[in-house]
């Protein structure tokens, strides 16, 4: 249980960063941390004690496998996270070029 708890705590740390930090790059980092924690959470759910990676081989026929479905979901989620992160970074450097800063407080419309 404590594993899940720590994982959710990591999620909330990321949330804290997104909400309180005033730097564009740090906001991106916060979002990425949240995304990592959700990925880990899904994999934790699918774990089975004593299970092995779901790959068939000839050596041992009867084995316990961990759940492959969360792994497939997380693979999707990782790529989606990469997509959002790169798009955010691209916009962040565009904003940096216009203002010369990553700080929200010096960027007019992003205050508050």
């Amino acid at each position: 249980m404590i594993v899940y708890f720590l994982c959710i705590f990591l999620f909330l740390v990321g949330l804290y960063g997104v909400v309180t930090k005033r730097n564009l790059i740090k906001i991106v980092i916060g979002l990425a941390i949240m995304e990592y924690s959700v990925n880990l959470f899904l994999i934790l759910i699918g774990y089975v004690k004593g299970g092995t990676a779901p790959i068939l081989s000839n050596e041992v026929t009867k084995r316990v496998f961990v759940d492959p479905l969360p792994q497939a979901m997380v693979l999707t989620a990782i790529v989606i996270g990469l997509a959002t992160t790169t798009l955010l970074l691209a916009i962040a450097i565009r904003i940096y070029k216009k203002y010369g800063t990553f700080d929200i407080r010096e960027i007019k419309n992003l205050k508050g």
């Binding site: 999620f11 949330l15 997104v18 564009l24 906001i27 979002l31 949240m34 995304e35 959700v38 959470f41 899904l42 759910i45 479905l69 969360p70 979901m73 999707t76 989620a77 989606i80 997509a83 959002t84 798009l87 955010l88 916009i91 962040a92 565009r94 904003i95 216009k98 203002y99 960027i107 007019k108 419309n109 992003l110």
Partner: protein, 514 residues
């Protein structure tokens, strides 16, 4: 008829990829191709509505049930999905056709049309899907393309609006993914119908409520309901106008309101507390959105705030229906209320789409969005003025137009369900809306003399053909949609959609077949 369902997703996707490849050799390919695809899909959804028996269920990959458990991704078309598909593709077609002239002024036209197709594909995918993780994937597709489209003009304000939109959008997506995790933890399945079965069969304590709250905040952010609305005015006013009309007209409905309806009616058991929360959120959006809107002077910002308010009407109508259903009240009241909500959803898509296109036409000719500096355009831009007038009358609820009927139905339902305060608020906000759009009309199109423009050295004339075409047809649609009150037409289009929500429990039987 199974063959038709994937086309709703495959065609726009193929369009996007082809535009990205061929567009770099042949100029103008994207312009025409996007409109053709969306026109075809509009026709296809009309065909399905009138000619085909639904619900249609398609198991992607052809995997059958395994020990009565669905293992494939399901694509489901029922009354509600096809209703939403019709809205998305109609508004999408007119926006794409409008873009042909509007986007000529910008660079990277091909990227614009590619992203446009991807956004349409994402929304169609969300609406067609019957699998909660699949909904998440397509929701992200629509959302990411809309982030990029908001920043399309790449000036300061657009980049900032896009960044803000993107941060809040990512937050909401992560909340949605987290609650998908919770649901998977509890039920070990991703199929919506199967999840609803599992939730019914196992008493899960508080987890379902917890997941519901997180889901509601996630999709509430996507639908810009009131505590979560901060991104909408910036994003919707910064996007190019055809995109604003897509965002306000269909995106917040397809990936926000629709998914809330689908999940909270068909997946979870309707509970009193959650339906109360949904009704309160709807009311708050309606009231605060309306009050915030009236003080705006930027025409597109005003329209964006007004979107929050009008979506409040939709959620309010559906919420009252939920409340009545959760208390085992009179089903006819719930039917009336949900009918009003869904009817208003279609109406709002049409007239708000049209209003954003009008605002775009004004901006296209004058380059100004501030209403204080506008005025006296009525003689120079007759088509824009008249279509905008009809949209304004429609949104503020003047009788022959569609907005009147849907608002009337919602208010009547609220009175019948004995929520008098809500009905009074709905009437009050309707009056505020009228005032707001009188302001828009007066300051944008009338008020000043037209010679002002010649003195300022800006030559203003009517917008090009494709833009006029879209605006005129949407204005006609504003009138035609009033026909949905006629019972025989309503039974074909609107009633199946309402039935899906009223008989919420039958969804899983229809999908699973046992």
């Amino acid at each position: 008829m199974d063959v038709f369902i994937p086309l709703f997703v495959v065609l726009p996707l193929a369009g996007a990829f082809l535009i990205a490849i061929i567009g770099s050799f042949a100029k103008g390919f994207g312009r025409i191709f996007t409109s053709i695809i969306l026109a075809f899909l509009t026709g296809l959804s009309l065909y399905v509505i009138f000619k085909v028996e639904y619900p249609i269920i398609l198991k992607v990959g052809g995997w059958e049930l395994f020990e009565k458990i669905p293992i494939a991704i399901y694509m489901v078309i029922d009354g509600l999905s096809i209703y939403l598909l019709l809205i998305i593709n109609i508004v999408g077609f007119f926006s794409a056709f409008y873009s042909i002239s509007y986007i000529k002024r910008f660079t990277a036209e091909n990227n614009y049309y590619t992203l446009f197709c991807l956004m349409a594909a994402g929304m169609n995918g969300v609406v067609v899907s019957g699998d909660i993780f699949n909904i998440y994937v397509f929701l992200e597709m629509a959302a990411i393309s809309s982030y990029a489209l908001v920043a399309f003009e790449i000036e300061k304000e657009h980049l900032e609006a896009s960044f803000k939109y993107q941060v809040l959008g990512c937050l909401s997506s992560l909340f949605i993914l987290l609650s998908i995790g919770f649901l998977y933890w509890k039920t070990s399945t991703l199929n919506i119908a199967d999840i609803s079965r599992m939730i019914l069969s196992t008493e899960g304590g508080g987890l379902v409520t917890f997941a519901q709250v997180i889901l509601l905040s996630g999709f509430g952010l996507k639908a810009a309901m009131i505590p979560f609305h901060a991104w909408l005015p910036d994003a919707h006013s910064s996007a190019p106008s055809p995109i604003s009309s897509m965002l306000s007209g269909v995106l917040i409905k397809a990936i926000g309101a629709y998914v809330i309806l689908r999940l909270f009616f068909n997946m979870f058991v309707i509970s009193y507390s959650i339906s109360m929360v949904i009704t309160i959120i709807g009311t708050l959006s309606m009231v605060i959105g309306g009050i915030l809107a009236i003080g705006q002077w930027d025409i597109k910002r005003l329209l964006a705030y007004s979107s929050i308010s009008q979506m409040g009407y939709v959620i309010l109508g559906v919420g009252i229906g939920m409340l009545v259903l959760s208390q085992n009240g009179d089903k006819s009241i719930a039917t009336l209320s949900i009918t009003g909500g869904l009817f208003h959803l279609f109406n709002h898509a049409v007239f708000k789409g049209l209003l954003f296109l009008n605002a775009g036409a004004v901006e296209y000719e004058t380059g100004i969005r501030d209403m204080k500096k506008l005025g006296g355009l009525s003689a120079k831009m007759p088509v824009t003025t008249s279509t905008s007038l009809s949209a304004s009358m429609s949104i503020s609820g003047i009788p022959p137009f569609n907005g009147f009927f849907s608002k009337l139905i919602i208010i009547i339902a609220a009175i019948q369900a004995k929520y008098y305060v809500l009905s009074i608020l709905a009437v009050f906000i309707s009056i505020i809306t009228l005032a707001m759009y009188l302001k828009v009309q007066r300051f944008t199109f009338f008020n000043k003399k037209e010679e002002d423009w010649d003195m300022r050295g800006i030559s203003v004339r009517e917008v090009p053909f494709t833009m006029c075409f879209s605006m005129v047809f949407l204005a006609v649609l504003c009138l035609v949609l009033s026909l949905l009150v006629v019972p025989s037409i309503r039974d074909i289009i609107l009633t199946p959609a309402v039935d899906v929500l009223i008989n919420a429990g039958q969804y899983s039987t229809a999908v699973l077949g046992h």
